[in-house]
Point group: D2
Chain length 422, copies 4
């Protein structure tokens, strides 16, 4: 359906050629300052026509808040937001619409609904993401105000041109160098900002690589072709404890959210696919005391363990395929199976990555916000319980109070602990 | 929470040391034959102690159907199933439990709940997946009876030992050879069976590679270490039209489902991350007439376009990290941040991949079943509408009835079509 | 939250003084004709200012469909609809807002949100129901096209002036006369139409009683007072089998829906509270063959048995309290508890009943539509099962195929059957 | 479906003759003491065979907690509970099952599922409520520990024998006496306890009336007939602010919950149907300062205004119809429509009211618990917002801080306030 989230619930609407696209955001905390100015910036980053790398359509995409706020503050009631469509009248394509575009949603929408919008893919239109980005403006504002949560996404690769962020484990003798590359990567994720990302039109923070990415996109454009790539996103300052066992693990919700963005084909968190060949003794993130609380020395986990945030930076990567609509002639078939050749005439995006950056950030904000509200309800409930309940120490863990006992000091000075039989 | 799905809704319960683990399955179609014999086989494939590659615990894992069937048929009412825990009394670990295991859920569960099961990670236990596998037995039975849906997962890599299934695009001059490898891969996915997968204890269908995988796992075991890998799953005979725009795209639900399995770090569908560097004109799957209906010539899409199944085989890959519990001594810290060394004594799995195969299949079945029921409701509703509504042809697409008109035949014989402005 | 329904999911937004109120309708069957003309009539019946019995505000309430349709047909995608608010700028009440209106939502909204709209009760505004009525226009159209479902509500009482529809059981010797009154009542419910209801401004179909109701309302108005009443609603042509055990029984969903309408205090279905003193042997509705299918001779059940529709007319009654805002001076207290006297100056409705009629019909349509889509999914699934499954006859019931055997014919000619031990 | 609640989500399973009935409770606050002893007492009150007024079956109904607790404390993970069925083997009714019992669920279950349990009504069995009562044991424990919430239900009428709790408005000159009766009623609701209710087997707290009720039930039993009645329930110490606009108003959820109990036909809260003829100036509940916070002088609202609890006692009444299964011969028809006479042989309940008392309390607890967790999440979120946000005073209401200004003191000493135009 068209809703996402349970405590912070977002419902979007709109196709390419209807009157407007938009969203209702339910579960908004009351008493938070909010105006269109909080929502517009990310919508403008998502907007087409920002550079000559993207489709030259100049959609205005000005958002209106219809409900749920007064005098610039949220009431706690649903916030509806709309963005009008500039071109509401679909052209009359007459009898022409016989070729479902290869790898586009034309065919599957018809299979699903038995009917389709004149633009073909209906809700698979990129304009649908406007509602998501608008909703995320509300979530981001809250996350920033209450936890200083920072969400930054950037383009990590275009075709073969890549920042080469994460790599698998090589030979043990090269471990130190390999680990140093990971540590440099984690360092980048700690400090990268949207300003740095927006320094160039590709939205890759590495100036040299972004220039090569730019060339790759232009090459695709000139060839009437298209190209994909990958986006990395980091979420900083997320408190430990978010994510719901078992089905709504934080990484499961993030994967769901990211794979619901048009044109995505893959998701990995932390070490991801590279982690499949790292030995356990290297991949495990040891605990260390940092700033008065427990952190981890490395971060192969990507900030999530057992489906729950551990307080470290959450980072993940998303694969985007090349856009399906291309100008090159393609041998394909009509809805009836008659072979023929299709060539698209008209504007189309050779690469969606730069514009997808704010969408990735938006879906991240929606996931974290929903998980946070759910955890706040649980914590609020536990806090209400009487303080004098005599909970057995073994159940409490007692961060900050326990003493190190029960270990066996071996001859070599190592402490061993008999772990619970899982 | 502990529920998954909306029309076919599964709710699981149970930790490692409680009386039982199990599941309630709601939304079961009435009138379908079902007994424990339909559910047990996959549970037995999931069970530990099947080979010396996995933990030697001999859990019986016999399932009981408590409700929802009579005389071997489903009533349409909720089906509850339980599997008793053999070892219900957690050992009294006294004051020993001060080290949260690195990269395990001990720390995050405590952060989330302020309390924890004596076994540490609570619901992150692999035993939780029993409920999922049992529920999937119901779903698989229905999918098999009604659409002959076949779901087969297998181990595609262990550490560096890999079947190397999908690769990115290389030089244009090598395109033919590269494409041949993909085609061979799609061929494998068309025919692979669970029998082939179970031919060896690693559950990799390639005999030679499986032997090397076996050695890699044993090496990890002997080093008191652990190792991860990847699983590929194919779902055959899924009808076109499943998956819900926009947030519940089929690939989004599959990603959600797979990333909710313990120890997963990545998901990719179709071309996945390899697809990020394949040019659009190669990556697009052209339509062809096959068996009287529209199919695609290639299958980089992985059976899903615009979030909706297109009738082709659905396939995806999942990354599993190395298990966190290892016997090697690890320098880490207690809950209080005091540095020390932790070494686990006791049984533990050096590699979860072989046992995860039926869990991946189970989550696949749950996703497809839920999407199918949702689509059946929509189709049922549309079917009820009067036949004489005069729907404009442009909205109907009319598979099997349209004529090829409106194209422009260019000088070179190519037909061009002015596509809708998306 | 602000959503209702699971398969036909309605999400509303808007307060009194925001830019617009409206709704998103998700789960709409594709291919159904739909324009604003299908939605507007009920909105116009709901509108204030229709007669001098209601508040004289002349809200225009013209609805716009923003998405989900094309060329007058539904696409299957979400339909968003909005109605602009005429008066978007709340007056600046300065420091005056210290008296929470007795029995109004001013106090509870503040307790809930810690913040409140300047109009006080925020979403408790009657304008919120606009979104519901608009959404129901979609549902009613489908229900009409596919099952000829007819939904008619009317005012059954205003204060003490009542049509006296349902009464409890009296003395056995008066049973025949008492039953005749019920049968007349069921007869009315079979034929009553919206045209009959709208014949007078009170919306009570009995001309004489409606006149007395009108006088009662005018008396309240002239006394700066208010008055409540009850509305009865009948839903005809609902197929048997709708409603979900156990928690989502059809009557439970109807009760939920009706009690979510502002100012409602009670709900009863079928015999309702009057049924509490009717003996079982009278209250039971015997089965009879009618029009080739099984019906019931009486209808104390109100068309629902065991939470599931039985194909008979569904009817229920809703109690509405007198509106809280009155012009009479009331001794009350400020938010701080300081005693004082409050007298409202300004327009207010002395009685909400006439305008509530279309809202009751709307909520009825939403409940039936959601239940129908859910049942269609189940039926669609069962239909797909192979025909040759050998289901034991005892499980099938086999309407239209069973023979009367197994009864014991007693000496007096009665057949007795040993019922299952429930 | 078989789930209820969103934050405290209860999923039940089980029919009459399956192996067990039970429930999974999700969203349980962690760290709360809980054992079977907290759950069993209400199950025992629900159990048949407690007196000669109810069916003499002696079901043991001993509950087992399967998961979610350890050492007597909740872990925050799902709690599964089961109660075994004593009689798991349905008798083979051979070819006898041709008469759907009038007003029972036999017919509608078959219409819905196309298949049915041998006991006929499947999940409409009273045994299904075991899962609800067990789940409520968890909720009640939390509500008691954290807010001292007290939930007490009792039988208010059996047939014509009634405590006559709430009555409509009569002549103005009798208002004082009429109001005194209401005040006595509110007084009863303030103090009544489960011990008082259990003082007699009817569970009506008035000794004299309960004796007459007892006679009415026995008369029905001896006539092989059945009789209905009404139950009143009061919930004390519910904090202000629970209930979610617009669709999930607290009274809407209570109505939903109560109307999902088998055999219910009506629900009313506060003044209910009697409130339809009370003038607004009498029906409005004026605010007063009480115990340092704002309360209401009267309580016609029943503790809920605008769908949100106001801190006063919540009370409501539920109508129960006479049980459908009776021993008297009934003229009816078979599934095929052949006329005949049906007489039930075997145990059956002449009146469900006494046993329904703990079920009503259970559903009350589930509703309040779910609403409380939802509100705790909202409050937790608002609390996190920075304290220095400059919220306009008009939005804050500022309980405990505002000054009485802005009123106009009229010549007669009354203060008037120009109310917002709603």
């Amino acid at each position: 359906m068209s809703s996402f989230g349970s405590n912070f619930r977002v419902t979007t609407f709109g196709e390419s050629h209807c009157k407007a696209v938009g969203v209702i955001v339910d579960g908004v905390p009351p008493g938070m300052p909010l105006t269109e100015d909080d929502v517009q910036p990310q919508l403008s980053r998502r907007r087409p026509g920002q550079s000559n790398l993207t489709t030259p359509r100049d959609e205005k995409d000005r958002v209106s808040i219809l409900s749920g706020t007064e005098k610039g503050f949220t009431l706690g009631t649903p916030i509806a937001m709309t963005v009008p469509n500039q071109d509401q009248r679909p052209h009359d394509y007459g009898e022409m619409d016989y070729y479902p575009r290869p790898s586009h949603a034309d065919f599957t929408y018809l299979a699903k609904y038995g009917i389709k919008a004149s633009s073909g893919g209906g809700r698979s239109s990129a304009r649908e993401t406007i509602g998501r980005v608008a909703a995320a403006g509300v979530a981001e504002k809250f996350l920033k105000l209450t936890h200083n949560v920072e969400i930054v996404a950037f383009v990590a690769s275009i075709g073969h041109v890549t920042m080469e962020p994460m790599s698998g484990y090589g030979k043990p003798e090269e471990e130190a160098e390999w680990l140093a590359r990971w540590e440099k990567w984690w360092g980048t994720l700690k400090t990268i900002s949207r300003e740095q990302v927006d320094a160039n039109e590709v939205r890759c923070p590495d100036a040299e690589i972004s220039q090569r990415m730019r060339e790759r996109i232009i090459a695709a454009k000139e060839a009437n072709d298209s190209i994909g790539g990958s986006i990395v996103c980091v979420i900083r300052n997320v408190p430990a404890g978010l994510g719901e066992p078992c089905f709504d693990k934080l990484e499961a919700k993030l994967a769901h959210a990211m794979m619901s963005i048009p044109a995505t084909k893959g998701f990995e968190i932390g070490s991801g696919f590279a982690g499949t060949d790292i030995p356990g003794h290297v991949h495990n993130d040891p605990f260390v005391l940092r700033g008065g609380k427990l952190g981890t020395k490395t971060n192969f986990s990507g900030g999530v363990q057992g489906g729950i945030s551990n307080g470290e930076n959450i980072y993940f990567k998303i694969a985007f395929k090349p856009p399906a609509t291309i100008g090159q002639a393609q041998a394909t078939a009509t809805y009836d199976g008659v072979s023929g050749t299709l060539a698209a005439k008209g504007r189309h995006d050779p690469c969606v990555l730069p514009r997808a950056v704010p969408i990735v950030e938006a879906m991240s904000a929606l996931v974290i916000m929903d998980a946070l509200l759910q955890q706040l309800g649980r914590q609020g409930a536990s806090t209400l319980l009487p303080a004098d309940l005599e909970i057995p120490p073994v159940l409490k863990g007692e961060l900050g109070k326990s003493k190190v006992v029960g270990q066996v000091k071996e001859a070599d000075g190592t402490h061993t602990v008999q772990l619970p039989k899982a």
